[in-house]
Amino acid sequence: MSDWDDAVRGYRAALQAEADLDRRDVDEIEDHLRSLAEELQTAGMSSLDAIREACKRLGDPRLLAREHARVRSPFGARLSRTRAWSAAALCAPWWWSFAKLTLVEVRGTAPGMTSIFGINLAIATAVMLGLTARTTWARAILVGALSWLMIDRAIGWAGAGLPSDRLEIVRISCLAGAFVFVVPWRRRELTASGYAIALLAWAYHGANVVSSFQLSGPDQLPLTDVAGSVAFFATLAAGLGVLLRGRWAAVASIAASVALVIAYTDLRTRTFHTATPTLSAILWLGAVLTGAAAAGIAAILAWRTSRGSLGTLRHWIDAPFA
């Protein structure tokens, strides 16, 4: 039996070395290999000949893996042009207003504020470009970011009424439209890595909420200061790690999750001095706590989909176009 297992393991390894296949897909091919070899053996072949013949009939693993990679993209099904470009067009008004806010109003206010807005604008711009190019990572980021935003605005508007800026309502409605285009209506439309990215996008919002407290002036929050920075950079690092399939993504996700929990325990003792303190507490604490949970689940997914501790060279090259 060990000849069998060696041959099967060899075939699996050859598949995985060539392209980034989902474990379920490789299991499926292995099952085929074993079924075929068993049939050949029943027909009278020796066990070693049977498994060799089965490997031969399945075909060159490198060709097979390449064909697979063409069909299955790493983070989920590629959006059709109509869906991707409709979503991009619907995100554009929000992106434009955010770019204006960052470059005109926020720039030069406080260094921390400027950098956080700058980083967010860079991510938003990359996502817009990625969506237009129909990359699957951009879609995954949008799924997480928009689902958080939809829930946040729904609760916020229900609690405090619609904003006075009517254009804001239009922009958010457009984003809701974009959400309909990118949301994975079928269960397997996003892969495990795709869901990890979506969850990290959610956690990133939580980290943004915490970070914004350390920027909001004299009311010092020493604990969330550290936790906020850690959560902010750890979610960014984790997202990058998932893109590159490095195991460090899981470590960064756990760090983000822990930082968000610490920030939560600190923030929940504070009083929010806003017009609607209870609503603010629900939204902000909710974002931080669900962000911590999201980062925790993302860590598990990131660990399970990682390929090597640093990621592979191929992923470093392929990631932007995936």
Partner: protein
Amino acid sequence: MPRAVRHRIAKDLIAASATPLLLAILHKGPSYGYAIIQQVRELSGGELEWSEGMLYPVLHRLEDQGLIESYDAVGETGRKRKYYRLRADGRRAFTEERRQWDVVSTTLAKAWRGA
């Protein structure tokens, strides 16, 4: 005088008929990769030889298009196996493929009559 040689079915034809054939097989009920290959061989009397591994990318493309969906079940061997079944879109695609192929095959049959 040149002898009539029976060639294997052309690659293009095999590729073109893959989707309608898979949809038809799954229309009869859920199945898994290995069983599908065997069914294709049986149905075609061994004339349609699919390269076994290449079945999977085709199945996965149909899955990404939302025509079929996969689920895990334990097969008769006791191993966990990935089964496929048609989704509503797949049933519609099956009907449409069937109509188009009927047109092609009746047209060919008429054109060949008396040839």
